[in-house]
């Protein structure tokens, strides 16, 4: 029972706890904050797993991007701090049951499958990632890179068109 293990359990407990809170708290703003914590916890998990690059990306994009976006949208659509509508009780009970069952089912399968970890050391250097990202050979990711760029472009245009207040509706 070394420190690494303890750290892991702490991190994971933190992730799950904050995650649970994020989907259950009554106040939307708090939910956003809990989400933020949860994401950071996950970043911490990445650090723990020694994939620093992903951790960094996680923090930059999620924490720095998405959560901020979400909070903006909350400001746009909501008066902060007000209580959210309670979920429909029947459905929440049912979905709680379903989710628990699903979780049991899935994890049972995973557990039974029993992934045996190999022993090769795993050291993803940022440089390696960069070179592979732009290589055109086997395990090169130039094409997905291009595709994602188009996706982002399209998404941007879409957002602009949709979210732009158009004059007709105003006057």
């Amino acid at each position: 029972m070394n420190s690494g293990t303890i750290l892991f359990y702490i991190i994971s407990a933190f992730i799950l706890g904050t995650g649970a809170l994020a989907v259950t708290t009554g106040k939307i703003f708090r939910a956003a904050i809990w989400l933020l914590f949860c994401l950071m916890g996950i970043a911490a998990l990445y650090f723990w797993m020694q994939v620093e690059f992903i951790a960094a990306v996680q923090i930059i994009i999620y924490v720095g991007g998405i959560v901020v976006l979400i909070i903006f949208s909350i400001f746009l659509t909501q008066k902060s701090g007000e209580e959210m509508l309670k979920p429909v009780l029947k459905r929440s009970l049912f979905s709680l049951f379903a989710v628990c069952f699903g979780f049991a089912f899935t994890f049972l399968l995973i557990y039974q499958y029993g992934f045996h970890s190999g022993s090769i050391p795993f050291q993803p250097g940022v440089a390696a990632i960069g070179t592979q990202m732009l290589s055109t050979t086997e395990h090169g990711y130039i094409l997905p890179f291009e595709v994602i760029s188009i996706l982002l472009l399209a998404a941007m245009i879409g957002c602009i068109v949709i979210a732009m207040k158009n004059k007709q509706t105003e006057e």
């Binding site: 995650g19 690059f53 976006l69 959210m84």
Partner: protein, 104 residues
Amino acid sequence: MNGIPLTHILFVSTALFFIGMYGFFTRRNMITILMSVELILNSVNINFVAFNKYLYPENLDGVFFTIFIITIAAAEAAVAIAIIINLYRSHHSVDVEEAGELKY
């Protein structure tokens, strides 16, 4: 390396996945639903990284997949939020139950 078995990490990811799903099912505010989706995606990310690290360290497929997922999550969130805002303009509410006119 530390002696955490892979299944424990997978436990975390799966749990997170279903937590997200629970949120998705129950939350009535669209934005919170979006948050739940983010949780789901993150659990998948954990899966990929964990698999990549523990099982197939020889190449970085999982890691790259994670990167792309994160990017896409961003794009998706952006578009979703744009749509939600537009919907808010017309419905003056972001409650899913409100936006149920198309049915049967």
